[in-house]
Structures are given as structure tokens and as C-alpha cells.
């Protein structure tokens, strides 16, 4: 049956009776949900940009995000820790792709292995974030409290820390939900739910979400740490 639809696809894609995109509705909804979530994050980052553009001064991120776990106090290692976090997330994205790919091959063992790696990556990222938050908090930074000065040495408003904690917090919340979703996927895989259904499409949708989290981090990382 699907052979027929596939060969007829080019001519009557939009003719009704089938998906014009050749995808099931769940994946379609996930895509459009991610688009709407992109607007949520977009609005956050654009607000951050707007406030930054309307301020006379802004702190230099390299002077703030410069420490590293277990490093001596006062170490000056800007961008190092956040690069580690970025790579953790990229690698966890790769393992997620591999899990999705293994799902397409109906290779249960590979799915399990890669999902576990992805979950470990997610937890590692969250731990890094927790450490960083804790470290900044110990320096006196929190919502409504900004101990750092502007790059030119003038008094800074609290909006640097306000936005940092709000946006990384919202992203961290997404990572957390992603980890929870992946754990559910892992349990479902171990219980042979997908084997019985004959496909691993749920993993694919979970994968889309996880990559989106990675994607958002690309933007957050650039906006807060690099520029």
C-alpha cells in the first residue's frame, strides 16, 4: 500500500487522503511546537538584546564566566568551562541521532546504549550548569543582584544577571524535561513497547526535542558568553 502512495507522491501530494509532507501528524506537531518554542526563546533573547542595546554599559562576560570547577580561586580561564558544556551538549546530540538511527534499523540494543549515553550527557550538562549557578551565586549574583561592573568600570544594572539566570534557567528547564523524556523513552524501549509497535517513531520525536534544546544552547552560548 505504501508503495502505491510513494510512487504517486509527486503528482498528488496535496490531493488529500494523505499527508502532504509524508510525515505522521505527531512529528508534524512536534515540529510546529518547536517552532513556537523557538519564538519563546527568540522573544527572551531579543528582549535581552533590546535591554542591552538600551543600556549605556554592559559587563564583559569574560570577566565573569572565568572559573572552573576544582580550579584555585581567582583563576582566569574565560570560555573554558562553557566550551566544555557546549561540547557535552553537542556529543549528547550526536548520541541522540545515533539512537534515532538505530531505532530506524530496529536495533534495540543500540537504541538503549545511545539513549543511556544521551541521558548521561544531559545530566552532565545540568550538573555543569548547577555548578556554574552555584558559583555565581556565591559571588553574589542572583535575580535582582548583580555584583559585576560594566566593562568600562561603571555601575551595572541588575539586568545582566536577571537575563542570564532567566534564560539559562529556562533552557536548563528544557534540558531537564528532555532528560525526563529520554528516560521515559529508555524505559519504553526496555519494556519492548516499540518492538511491539514495529517502529521507533517516538524516539524520533524525542530526538527532535533534544536537538532543539541543543540548538537553543548554540544561541544562548553565543549571546551570553561570546558576544
Amino acid at each position: 500500500m505504501s508503495t502505491v502512495t510513494a510512487t504517486a507522491a509527486p503528482t498528488k501530494l496535496w490531493g488529500g487522503g494523505k499527508s502532504p509532507f509524508n510525515v505522521e501528524y505527531g512529528k508534524l506537531m512536534m515540529w510546529y511546537f518547536l517552532m513556537s518554542d523557538a519564538f519563546t526563546f527568540g522573544a527572551f533573547l531579543i528582549s535581552y538584546g533590546t535591554i542591552r542595546f538600551s543600556s549605556n554599559g554592559w559587563p564583559n562576560p569574560n570577566e565573569i564566566f572565568k572559573s572552573f570547577p576544582f580550579a584555585p580561586e581567582g583563576v582566569h580561564a574565560p570560555l573554558v568551562f562553557v566550551s566544555v558544556m557546549t561540547f557535552i551538549l553537542i556529543i549528547s546530540s550526536v548520541t541522540m541521532v545515533l539512537a534515532v538511527h538505530a531505532g530506524k534499523q530496529m536495533d534495540k540494543n543500540a537504541v538503549v546504549k545511545n539513549l543511556i549515553l544521551t541521558i548521561i550527557g544531559g545530566i552532565a550538562f545540568l550538573s555543569c550548569q548547577a555548578w556554574e549557578w552555584n558559583h555565581l551565586h556565591s559571588e553574589g549574583a542572583w535575580w535582582g543582584a548583580n555584583p559585576f561592573l560594566n566593562a568600562d568600570g561603571t555601575q551595572s544594572s541588575t539586568n545582566f544577571t536577571n537575563y542570564f539566570f532567566t534564560i539559562t534557567g529556562f533552557h536548563g528547564f528544557h534540558v531537564f524535561s528532555g532528560v525526563v523524556i529520554n528516560i521515559i523513552m529508555l524505559i519504553m524501549t526496555l519494556l519492548d513497547k516499540f518492538e511491539k509497535r514495529g517502529h521507533y517513531l517516538m524516539i524520533e520525536k524525542a530526538g527532535l526535542y533534544w536537538h532543539f534544546v541543543d540548538l537553543v544552547w548554540v544561541f544562548v552560548f553565543t549571546c551570553f558568553y561570546l558576544i
Binding site: 502532504p20 527572551f44 532567566t166
Partner: protein, 606 residues
């Protein structure tokens, strides 16, 4: 569940055939009361839930407007009965300023979000999309149910805010900071605002769940032969509405999250340079109140079209059906709706011309705003030319549809004035604005909604609404709407600002005392007429004239090929296949040709 079935085909290339079978099994099993009427997953029941919840809110929101119109029309009189129902909010039978602002705010929020968003597109998207595209149900009936219940809980939270000690939020439906960000700003900014924001956040979730479902259903679940260009315009309109909601509500959501932090966690996203009487200067520094307005109106303007587009779609369908003529310019209608949907995202700052917005940026927003006049005018011309030389049947639905066009023209024209940033210096925040958006967005969309209810009531309940009451309802409402809002243009041009509590103490606005009293009187009459409509509605559900044929209006669209009272799954047998567009009226000597009729051998091309 259909999700499982769709997944079973692995590639997701849905074969409706398989889905049909699963839904057939749905039809047969017995439904308990709870699953049939409360936690229903049938799109038709969910639509009715949206409709009736929307009606509840419409009555409440309308009643609020009557109460504050009492204050505006009779600022010097006292009404002891008001103290009986409002207690301390109407000491001595006189609405207090706090209560007045709370009423205005809640009226706006409730009408815009609960009635004209959930009540309008929630009802008709749920009801019409599966029926008109030829699907058993929504793509995800479960998410659809959640959508309603999130809306319902949002409503409960909003309702509860009316009963808290400090009253509901009273800073205007737009909830601008600092009034919304500082608890010290006004009594309503305390618990009332917390509840308001929770309610709105839940509402965003509801509209997102619904919107994703509508989009996926329209794209993926069309029956065989139902190509996008054979869809009735209702579906196109509801589709664009859903897209607008999915892309703009998240921005509001972000704005609200920042607002929550400002309220509760000492941040200053929106706050700077603030001095509160009694509390002194606040430490908040570096924020921008205008940022909130930008975020709010990034949703707020698409929201206008979220409200208006479903009405436009239904009116197109009803005008064509009851003129017994094809809709004029079908593709132009789709194109103009598409243009409106895009422009909706580009014009938000025209609500903020006088906030200190950069004038150059403002001029670009003027240009983009005035561009909306083009697709709007295309639509108006197409409606008028659809009516032109038609064989018009003046059913109540048709009357309301024509009324919609009338209101859309008269309200839309003043929009061209308001879109100019220079004129806006004089007109912003006056009664001119009130008149404009109430006519073009509020009343016009209500008319679209009434038209939809009168037209599809037979499909919903298998009975007719009473026609005579329908005509009474129509004439009083349209005459009343113009009598209420037309004079407000004059007041606004004279500079009378909106949101004032008592105009009689202003030398410049005293002259409008009689006019205000007149407006208030008409408002009460119109409100009473809506109660008449509700009586008609609920009476007809149980006692209305019964439907004898499946297609009472001689309509082409698919919903009229279902049984009079379709079960869960809509069509008892196979879903019919579609062979033509939805507007073959008066073609080749036939009064109408249903979409399910195959193209004849000697048929002319439309």
C-alpha cells in the same frame, strides 16, 4: 487511539482506510456520561463545551460592561442594588474607582481571550475542521480535550480573582507595567494580578495545544480529493488563525515570564526610575516598560486577527451559501487572508506610537499598517460581489453575515485614520479608538460568531434556532451596536480620553453627559437582547424545530453529508471522497452541487 493507528503505518503516509476502521470501533462502544459530556474526546462535543463556556464568559463580560456603563452614563446617581451585588466595591450604590477599573480590565481580558479567542475559534475550529476536511476527528483528540480543560481552568482562575479581597487586576487588559509589575501600584495589582497572569499562562497553553492540533489536522487529515484549494474558506481562515496563535502566543508567554520575575523575584526587566508614593524610590534600574509593550503587542496584534479571521471565514461561507452563488475570488480570498496573517506580525508597534517609540521606526510601522488595508479591501469587495445579483436568502445567519461586512467596513475605515502616527497623537487613548476596535474587532467578530451559530446550530444539535427571535436579535443588535459606538467617534475626536472614571467633572467633556447616558441605555438594551438569544439557544437545543433533511441550507460542504446527528467518527461508513471545490452554487442549472459529486462529463469549468 488514532495516534497509535497512524503510527502503525510506519512511514506515516496515512492511509485513511486504516484509520477509518479504528474509528468505526469508536462509534460503537458505549460512552458513559462523564466520557460523553465531560472528558469527551469527540471534537463536536469539545466544540460545544468551548461554545457554552464562551457564552458564560460573554454574559459575565457583557454584564461588566453594563455595570461600568452605568457609572459612565449616570455618574451622579446611586443604585442601592449595586451594593447588594458588589458589596464594598459599590459603597452607597456608587461603583468605586477601583471597581470601575477592575470591571474595565476584566471585561477586556475576558472578551478578547475567553470569548472571542476560545469561544470563537475554539468552537468553530473544533467543530468545523474535521467535518469540513473530511476527518473522523482531530489529529490528537486527547490534546484537544486537554486544550479545553486548560481553557476551563484558566477561566476558573480568572473567576476566582474576582473574589479575592483586593479585587481582580485593574490595570487594563494589556497589563502594562509598572501597574502590573508592582503590587504597591494599586489594590488590583496584588493577588488579582497574580491570578490574572496564571490564568493567562494557562490560556496560552490551551491555545497552543488547540492550535497545533488544528494545523496538523488541516494539513494531514484531509479526505481523498480534498486538496488545499478545494477547502472551504472557513478552514483556510481557521488554519491561518491557528498559525497566528502558535507563533505569537509564545512571545506573550515570554513577556509574562519576565513579568512574573519582576513581580516576585526583584528583577527589573520592565522597571526603571520608579517612585512609589509611601514606599519611596525603588532600587529597580535599567529596565524598559516599553519592552513589555513590544512583547505584548507582538502577540496583541496577531490576536486581533486571531479573533477576526474565523469570523471572516465563516462569513465567506455563509454569504456564498445563502446567495446561491460561488464565492467571488476564492484564490484572492486565500491570498488576502495569507497577506493579513503575515502583516499581522509586522505591525505591532502601531499600538505604541506615542510611547516614545522612535519616530522613524514608527513611520515604517505606519507603512506596514496601512498595507493591511489592501487585503482587507479585497475581502470586502469579494463579499460584496458575492452578494451582487445573488439569489439571497435572508436567514438569520445571512443577516448576521451581512451585518459583519457592514461593521467590518465602518470599523475598518477608522483604522486607516488610526494607523497614521501623526493623527494618533490626537486620537490615541480616546473614545475614537474604543469605537474603532469595538466595531471592527469586537462587534464584527461577535456577528461572525452569531452567524456561525445560526448557520451550524442545525448541525450541532439537529434542531433549528427560532427564526423570529433570530431576526429580533439581529436588528436590535446591529442598530444598537451602531448607536453605541458611532457617537463614540465624536467623543474621541473631541479628545475625550478612554478609561476615565467620571467625565462630568471635566469642563471639556461635560457636554457629552447626555450622549453618554444615551450610549449606556442602548448598551443595556443590547445586552438584554443577547439574553434573548441565549434563551433561544438553550430552548432550541431541547425544543427547537427538528431537522428533517441532512442538508437544510442546500450547502456543498462535507459536514452536511453526515447524518443529522453524527456520532463520534462523523460518517457511519467510508469518509466520502471530494471531487470539486466547495462553491459550485447555481452552476449549469443546478442550485448546488455537493463536493462529493463527481465532475460530470459535460460540465463547464469554473
Amino acid at each position: 487511539m488514532s495516534s497509535e493507528v497512524a503510527l502503525d503505518i510506519h512511514s506515516g503516509v496515512s492511509s485513511l482506510h486504516v484509520e477509518n476502521q479504528s474509528h468505526d470501533s469508536h462509534v460503537h462502544h458505549h460512552e458513559t456520561f462523564i466520557y460523553k459530556y465531560v472528558f469527551s474526546m469527540d471534537h463536536k462535543m469539545i466544540a460545544k463545551q468551548f461554545l457554552i463556556t464562551g457564552m458564560f464568559w460573554a454574559v459575565l463580560g457583557g454584564l461588566m460592561s453594563v455595570l461600568f456603563r452605568l457609572q459612565l452614563g449616570y455618574p451622579d446617581s446611586t443604585f442601592p442594588w449595586l451594593e447588594d451585588i458588589l458589596g464594598k466595591w459599590a459603597k452607597g450604590g456608587h461603583i468605586t474607582p477601583e471597581a470601575y477599573y477592575a470591571l474595565v480590565t476584566t471585561h477586556g481580558t475576558v472578551l478578547v481571550f475567553f470569548v472571542l479567542t476560545a469561544g470563537l475559534s475554539g468552537t468553530f475550529a473544533n467543530f468545523l475542521i474535521p467535518l469540513q476536511v473530511g476527518a473522523r476527528d482531530m489529529a490528537s483528540p486527547f490534546m484537544n480535550m486537554l486544550s479545553f480543560w486548560f481553557f476551563f481552568i484558566a477561566g476558573i482562575v480568572m473567576l476566582s480573582s474576582i473574589f479575592v479581597e483586593t479585587g481582580p487586576f485593574s490595570g487594563g487588559w494589556t497589563a502594562y507595567p509598572p501597574l502590573s509589575a508592582l503590587g504597591d501600584a494599586s489594590p488590583g495589582s496584588k493577588t488579582g494580578m497574580d491570578l490574572w497572569i496564571v490564568s493567562m499562562a494557562l490560556f496560552v497553553v490551551s491555545s497552543l495545544l488547540g492550535g497545533l492540533n488544528y494545523i496538523a489536522t488541516v494539513l494531514n487529515m484531509r479526505t481523498k480529493g480534498m486538496s488545499m484549494t478545494r477547502l472551504p474558506l472557513t478552514i483556510w481562515a481557521l488554519f491561518f488563525t491557528a498559525v497566528l496563535g502558535v507563533l505569537s502566543f509564545p512571545v506573550l508567554f515570554s513577556g509574562f515570564i519576565l513579568l512574573i520575575f519582576d513581580r516576585n523575584f526583584g528583577t527589573s526587566f520592565y522597571l526603571s526610575d520608579i517612585f512609589v508614593n509611601g514606599a519611596g524610590a525603588l532600587p529597580n534600574e535599567g529596565g524598559s516598560a516599553i519592552l513589555y509593550q513590544h512583547l505584548f503587542w507582538f502577540l496583541g496584534h496577531p490576536e486581533v486577527y486571531i479573533i477576526l479571521l474565523p469570523a471572516m471565514g465563516m462569513v465567506s461561507e455563509i454569504l456564498s451559501t445563502n446567495s446561491r452563488k460561488p464565492i467571488f475570488g476564492y484564490m484572492a480570498m486565500i491570498g488576502s487572508m495569507f497577506a493579513i496573517a503575515i502583516l499581522a506580525f509586522l505591525v505591532w508597534a502601531h499600538h505604541m506610537f506615542v510611547t516614545g517609540l522612535n519616530p522613524f521606526l514608527g513611520s515604517i510601522f505606519v507603512l506596514l499598517t496601512l498595507l493591511i488595508a489592501v487585503p482587507s479591501a479585497i475581502k470586502v469587495f469579494n463579499w460584496l460581489t458575492t452578494l451582487w445579483r445573488g439569489n439571497i436568502r435572508f436567514t438569520p445567519a445571512m443577516m448576521f453575515a451581512i451585518g459583519f461586512v457592514s461593521l467590518f467596513i465602518s470599523g475598518g475605515l477608522t483604522g486607516i485614520w488610526l494607523g497614521n502616527s501623526a493623527l494618533d497623537i490626537h486620537l490615541h487613548d480616546t473614545y475614537f479608538v474604543i469605537a474603532h476596535f469595538h466595531i471592527v474587532m469586537g462587534v464584527a467578530s461577535m456577528f461572525g460568531m452569531f452567524a456561525g451559530i445560526y448557520h451550524w446550530f442545525p448541525k450541532m444539535y439537529g434542531r433549528y434556532l427560532n427564526n423570529t427571535l433570530g431576526y429580533v436579535h439581529f436588528w436590535i443588535t446591529i442598530v444598537g451596536a451602531y448607536l453605541i459606538f458611532w457617537p463614540m467617534h465624536y467623543e474621541g475626536l473631541a479628545g475625550m480620553p478612554r478609561r476615565y472614571y467620571d467625565y462630568s467633572i471635566w469642563e471639556s467633556f461635560k457636554q457629552f453627559g447626555d450622549l453618554n447616558r444615551f450610549i449606556s441605555t442602548v448598551a443595556m438594551i443590547v445586552f438584554a437582547t443577547q439574553i434573548l438569544f441565549l434563551a433561544n439557544f438553550f430552548y432550541s437545543i431541547f425544543k427547537g424545530r427538528k431537522l428533517r433533511s441532512t442538508n437544510p441550507w442546500g450547502s456543498n460542504t462535507l459536514e452536511w453529508t453526515t447524518p443529522i446527528k453524527p456520532g463520534h467518527g462523523n460518517w457511519p461508513g467510508e469518509i466520502p471522497e471530494v471531487y470539486r471545490w466547495a462553491y459550485d452554487y447555481g452552476k449549469d442549472g443546478h442550485d448546488f452541487i455537493s463536493q462529493t459529486t463527481p465532475i460530470g462529463a459535460d460540465e463547464s469549468v469554473h
